[in-house]
């Protein structure tokens, strides 16, 4: 026994191609119309000047609070690294670019802290999942996108480098919640 289909023949809607008009069938008027558009844009110098960003001299206006550039490792209000080495970002990272080594924390308000925190910026896909996974808002993405290096090793950012990025960018983009400390 075959199962009865749960749709009826009348449910099928045939969508026909729209009929071409006389000018569309003759092509040439349409082609000239298209060329008119192209020509019009060719001589719109003003539009070009407004829309094009001449990169090294001009820079894009970024929305700093949401732009996903290079990472930083936040410091808390006492200047200590805010990370508690919970490995949530490392777990969440789809590109497996974060490598953390935790150790017992010397401070009383938390159990662990990272002695090593490496991000391979070449593997990273800048999806921002680490930022979302972090329970203490310790890792964040910054609006910085000038990411250059001479070798692959140079592009693996360690803890010091990531903390430096925080020092550099904290005025531009303050830490979301500076009061979180322990976990």
């Amino acid at each position: 026994m075959t199962a009865k289909p749960d749709w009826k023949q009348t449910d099928i809607i045939h969508v026909d191609q729209p009929e071409l008009s006389m000018t569309e069938r003759m092509y040439l008027p349409q082609i000239f119309g298209g060329m008119k558009t192209t020509l019009r844009h060719m001589f719109k110098k003003k539009l070009r000047d407004e829309t094009v960003v001449q990169y090294p001299e001009q820079k894009r206006q970024l929305r700093k609070e949401i732009y996903r550039g290079v990472h930083r490792l936040n410091r808390d209000d006492q200047g200590r690294v805010a990370c508690v080495a919970c490995f949530m970002c490392e777990t969440a990272c789809p590109a497996h670019c974060i490598h953390i080594e935790g150790a017992e924390s010397p401070w009383p308000d938390r159990e662990k802290y990272p002695i090593k925190f490496d991000i391979d910026e070449l593997r990273c896909i800048y999806c921002g999942m680490c930022e979302e996974a972090c329970p203490v808002d310790a890792i964040e993405l910054t609006p910085e996108y000038h990411l250059v290096g001479g070798s692959r090793e140079e592009m693996i950012f360690d803890k010091e480098k990531l903390l430096n990025i925080f020092d550099r960018t904290k005025d531009e983009k303050p830490r979301k919640n500076p009061n979180i400390t322990g976990y």
Binding site: H14, Q17, M26, M35, L39, H41, M42, R48
Partner: protein
């Protein structure tokens, strides 16, 4: 003592001047000889075309940028005018990769073949009519600004430009790559199909002017006005087929990036890839020059008597400039079309050629033959041209399907089955 020295000096100066006069005479004699003049002209044209191609590529990048509201290359030199040099250097410095499993001989041969074929077409283009040097006698034969003035000039161009399909097919076949091979097959089918309407258009022009020599076709237009007035549709179809022959945008299925990566030149790199590009742009220049000679008055400007008739070197130079300007306009048109019209689908391409262009141009040839046989006015063909175009449109509307439209019958068959 001193007198002798002065005398010697005078003697030396005199002989030096005499030697210089002799050399000048020799140069004049060489320049007044059509054979040597043709060789000089050939070299000049060769160099000129190379430069023109380099700057055509810059122009294309600029036009593509402008039509998309961008600036285009503007870093190398003011307004990017040194960009072609940077591009050329890049092509030279890149690693020339020959993949492991290619047919090595053909792989190396194909780009050179297409390059050479694209360049030899220039030989029969009349660049600037004829002229006489100031020192030539009034009875002497005037010099022709043309590398080779042969009887079958137009046939030669058609033959040579069809050879370029060999370069494409060999390149695609030798690459041992499916995408390249598809590109080559498409190019072969397309170029062969579009040869037919192209030949028909040329046939109409040949019948009308009664000559295969491009310079005589230009002369005919000097007497009767531009041929495009008598055969507007033939000129249009010739332009369309020229686009197809040069693998330009609405017909660039041989290298359609979305489907075939790079088509027949997928596996090529460095200088060999550059040769393919040089060939494509040279082909554009040749076909523009040919169209201008046949339908758009060559180096003539209607109503400018001095330009059209003066047999001096200066006037010939101006004629060459006029011709170059017309070519420039055509190239701009090519590029504007490239950045305006989307690519045809392959069945649409074939349908346009065989069901649209071939019947239309056949009618035109028949009409031109009839006009010649009956001795009617040449303007009759203008009416026939317009009539053919309108009839084509009418048939397409009444038939319910466009020449390049979707095959509605296929879907009806599906619904019935």
């Amino acid at each position: 003592m001193g007198g002798i020295q002065v005398g010697n000096l005078c003697h030396n100066v005199g002989s030096a001047a005499r030697t210089m006069m002799d050399t000048m005479d020799a140069i004049r004699n060489i320049l007044a000889d059509q054979f040597w003049f043709s060789i000089v002209l050939g070299l000049v044209v060769f160099g000129g075309i190379q430069g023109a191609v380099a700057y055509a590529i810059l122009l294309e990048r600029k036009i593509s940028a402008w039509t998309q509201d961008r600036y285009g290359p503007n870093r190398v030199g003011p307004y990017g005018i040194l960009q072609p040099i940077a591009d050329g250097l890049k092509f030279f410095l890149k690693e020339d990769i020959i993949p492991a499993n290619v047919d090595k001989a053909l792989f190396i041969f194909a780009p050179w073949m297409i390059f050479v074929v694209a360049l030899v077409g220039f030989a029969v283009i009349p660049w600037g009519g004829s002229f006489k040097w100031g020192w030539m006698e009034a009875t002497a034969k005037p010099m022709v600004v043309q590398v080779a003035s042969v009887d079958i000039g137009l046939l030669y161009i058609v033959a040579v430009s069809s050879l370029s399909v060999y370069g494409v097919v060999l390149g695609g076949w030798a690459s041992n790559n499916k995408y390249s091979f598809y590109g080559a097959i498409r190019a072969a089918a397309q170029m062969l199909s579009y040869e037919v309407p192209m030949g028909m258009c040329l046939m109409a022009a040949i019948l009308m002017t009664g000559s295969l020599r491009l310079e005589e076709m230009v002369d005919w237009q000097a007497r009767h006005g531009w041929a495009v007035m008598y055969h507007p549709i033939a000129a249009l179809v010739l332009f369309i087929t020229a686009l197809a022959e040069a693998n330009r945008m609405p017909f660039d299925l041989a290298e359609s990036e979305q489907e075939l990566i790079g088509g027949y030149h997928t596996e090529y790199s460095a200088l060999k890839l550059a040769l393919f590009f040089l060939a494509e742009y040279s082909h554009m220049i040749t076909s523009s020059a040919m169209m201008i000679c046949i339908f758009f008055g060559g180096y003539l400007v209607p109503g400018w008597e001095w330009l059209n008739t003066t047999p001096t070197f200066g006037a010939a130079l101006v004629r060459v400039a006029v011709f170059a300007f017309k070519i420039f306009l055509f190239i701009c048109l090519y590029m504007l079309i490239r950045w305006t019209i989307p690519r045809f689908r392959f069945d649409q391409l074939m349908r346009l050629a065989w069901k649209g262009l071939v019947p239309m141009t056949m009618t035109l040839v028949a009409a031109q033959g009839l006009v010649l046989y009956m001795g009617w006015s040449q303007w009759t063909t203008t009416a026939v041209n317009i009539g053919v175009f309108l009839f084509g449109g009418f048939v397409s509307v009444a038939g319910g399907k466009a020449v390049t439209g979707r095959q509605l019958s296929l879907r009806r068959a599906e619904a019935m089955g």
